[in-house]
């Protein structure tokens, strides 16, 4: 059984953290993540969630507290945005290398400067290679669901890797949406208590986070790389079983009207829903256009992506971050890498859009598709600049 309610997405996310029976929460306020931590504090102080809420003095300490609590074997949650992520990033990398599972909701927001509290993906792209499993969600239901999926996958003994849910700031965090809330019994069935393989405990002393001399460092890193690359089937299993329970099935790459499509638009996060309206318009005009939304950002679903764009002649990639001096946006770079090995591959055009909360309307997608079709070659452009 499940109940459908109209609820602010941040509140729903916090409710999911409660239903997941989280043990330790350590977070520091930053817009647009604040409603999540505020609601969690309320749940803890009202006795509705039996957890330790550690009101840290910085995000660096938030991630450090999380590393300690996860190492002690506790189910651990944090959430942040932008500057907060940048500040904690040193420890973000350490945590995945120490194989400490935990869940982070990242309410995506631009990085300074100029200061902007609004949404784009420059924060998460700054930690692209941090060794966490990273997903993007398109709406409130998806973030709610992924709290359970995230814990389940991260804590799987075959995975033991931290998990990030990317949630667009404001456009998702601050809106009220209809969300189907799971009954506690369903959650408990899907998400067993965390049983760590190793934990900091006197009964079985372990040393975690040792000094890696050159004779062994490469080997530890290869072990981590192999472990990370083999998380994919466990992520798929997590999604499959969640789908079996709720009827909502998630995939590494979500597709919309990609059958027979000659042009494919690629997005990440909430813009996928906007783009789908443009796809409908173009399809209505007889244009063979489809949409691919990259849900799983790390590990990158190379196979699934290639499959999704098979037969396309043009791929129009929408990035929400800049890679200064690079080949365009970070998503486009990945997509070119995914297609490089193909004998025939589509032309890739890259637009950088929606920076610092700049609105992108369905018509903008139509415009970009037309521009990409009209102008030959592979190129990138920051779209919608006011001249």
């Amino acid at each position: 059984m499940a109940t459908r309610v109209g609820i602010e997405v941040s509140i729903a996310a916090a409710e999911a953290v409660k239903q997941a029976n989280t043990d330790v929460i350590a977070a520091y306020p930053i817009t647009p993540q604040t409603h999540i931590v505020e609601h969690l504090s309320e749940l803890v102080n009202n006795g509705e969630l039996d957890a330790e809420f550690v009101p840290v003095e910085s995000e660096h300490s938030a991630m450090s507290v999380c590393s300690g609590s996860s190492a002690a074997g506790a189910r651990t949650f944090t959430c942040t945005s932008s500057q907060g992520l940048a500040l904690m990033s040193e420890i973000v990398y350490a945590v995945s290398s120490l194989r400490l599972p935990m869940l982070m909701i990242l309410a995506n927001r631009s990085l300074n400067s100029p200061l902007s509290i609004w949404n784009d993906h420059s924060d998460v792209m700054s930690i692209r290679d941090c060794g966490w499993i990273q997903v993007f969600v398109e709406n409130g239901q998806e973030v709610y669901d992924h709290v359970f999926i995230g814990y389940r996958v991260a804590e799987d003994r075959n995975v033991l890797t931290p998990f990030i849910i990317n949630l667009d700031g404001f456009v998702l965090t601050h809106v009220i949406e209809p969300i189907e809330m799971l009954d506690q019994e369903m959650v408990d069935r899907y998400l067993p208590p965390y049983q760590p393989l190793y934990r900091l405990h006197p009964n079985q002393p372990v040393s975690i986070g040792c000094f890696g001399p050159p004779v062994l460092f490469t080997e530890t890193k290869r072990a981590q790389d192999e472990a990370f690359n083999s998380t994919m089937p466990h992520i798929l299993k997590g999604w499959q079983e969640f789908g079996d329970l709720t009827g909502r099935y998630y995939h590494p790459v979500e597709t919309y009207k990609t059958e027979e499509a000659k042009v494919i638009v690629v997005t990440q996060g909430s813009l996928g829903e906007t783009a789908s309206i443009a796809i409908d318009t173009l399809r209505g005009e007889g244009e063979p256009v489809g949409l691919v939304s990259i849900r799983l950002w790390r590990p990158f679903p190379f196979e699934e992506f290639r499959e999704a764009v098979k037969g396309a002649e043009l791929v129009v990639v929408m990035d929400r971050a800049i890679s200064y001096g690079g080949p365009g946006g970070p998503l486009a770079g990945e997509i070119r890498a995914a297609l490089y090995s193909q004998e025939v591959h589509p032309r890739v055009v890259n637009f950088i859009i929606g920076l610092g909360g700049r609105d992108v309307a369905p018509d903008d997608f139509v415009q970009m598709v037309q521009q990409a079709k009209a102008r030959p070659g592979e190129w990138y452009e920051i779209y919608g600049v006011r001249e």
Partner: protein
């Protein structure tokens, strides 16, 4: 005084439990009093102790993969966050024990860092952890510089000391600032227990660690840890130098228990600081004027400390 403590030392091995939790075979330099202090701390905290270590000499010398010197659960995450990692361990254990995920049991949580990891880069995380009131013991091993990275100055490096980033130059004669008073900063957080210690006074040190572990809430212990390598001192003089630091009043041993100050070694008369300074290469360049300046400062600070003892024990 000196003789009395010497005698105590003879009996030390009999009075102290033999069980070690920081095992031999670590890579610390000869005569390192920091690792000696750490060994004593680990001994007192015993088996039911979880350690969160900062980056620094003690972390590097005790954990080169695939080896470890640790016989208790131990974690190192980064340089500046030992207090926060310990906060997380404490919070995790608390939640799990309350919710039935772990059996109820007294487990001590200890955070450790050098003077750099404490009074410089880790100060914010430490302040946060003390203010939040986690039940843990924080131990600062103060060897008065960033030794692990090659003897660079920290805010805990004493006035006049030559380090690789405060070298005794032709114009600037070494460290130009006075040592940051870290124990006072800890005490200003009104935590239940703050103490200074030195492994040259092993029983005093161990008693303080025991007290810190028994007291509920945050406890802070600041240990002067003589580093022969960084101080340019023959290794066999490490214990002697620690004694002189105390006997000159440069590093007074005291504790602050629930706001009350107490001198652990109350000396009727302080030795001249020169006795301490002259045996160390890092102070070799000091002029008589600079030594005078240090002497004045030490006497003033010692007086201030004695006043605090008087004031907090009145009535």
């Amino acid at each position: 005084m000196d003789k009395f403590l010497d005698r105590l030392n003879i009996y030390a091995s009999r009075l102290v439990l033999q069980k070690e939790y920081l095992m031999p075979g670590h890579r610390a330099c000869q005569g390192c009093a920091e690792v000696l202090a750490l060994r004593l701390v680990a001994k007192v905290l015993g088996r039911n102790n979880i350690i969160a270590s900062a980056t620094g000499c003690m972390e590097i010398v005790s954990s080169p993969l695939p080896l470890t010197s640790w016989n208790v659960p131990w974690i190192h995450v980064a340089f500046e966050n030992a207090a926060a990692v310990a906060s997380g361990i404490e919070a995790g254990l608390k939640a799990l024990m309350r919710k039935g995920g772990l059996p109820q049991q007294k487990i001590n949580v200890m955070a450790m860092a050098g003077d750099g990891g404490t009074s410089d880069i880790g100060l914010q995380a430490l302040s946060g952890a003390m203010e939040r009131g986690h039940d843990f013991v924080y131990v600062c091993f103060d060897n008065e510089a960033y030794m692990n990275t090659g003897i660079q100055r920290s805010s805990s490096t004493p006035f006049g000391a030559s380090t690789t980033t405060s070298p005794a130059g032709k114009v600037v004669p070494g460290q130009t600032t006075w040592k940051k008073n870290m124990p006072e900063i800890a005490a200003a957080h009104n935590i239940p227990y703050v103490a200074t210690a030195c492994p040259s006074y092993p029983f005093d040190l161990m008693e303080k660690v025991k007290k810190a572990a028994d007291i509920e809430g945050p406890a802070y212990i600041h240990i002067l840890s003589v580093c022969p390598t960084g101080w340019r001192l023959p290794p066999q003089l490490a214990i002697h130098a620690g004694r002189l630091a105390v006997e000159t009043g440069i590093f007074p041993l005291y504790e602050v228990e629930r706001g009350k100050y107490r001198l652990s070694v109350d000396l009727p008369e302080l030795r001249p600081v020169e006795e301490y300074l002259k045996i160390q290469g890092r102070f070799r360049h000091l002029t008589p004027e600079m030594i005078d300046k240090i002497q004045q400062r030490v006497l003033e600070e010692y007086e201030k400390l004695k006043k605090k003892v008087e004031m907090t024990n009145e009535g």
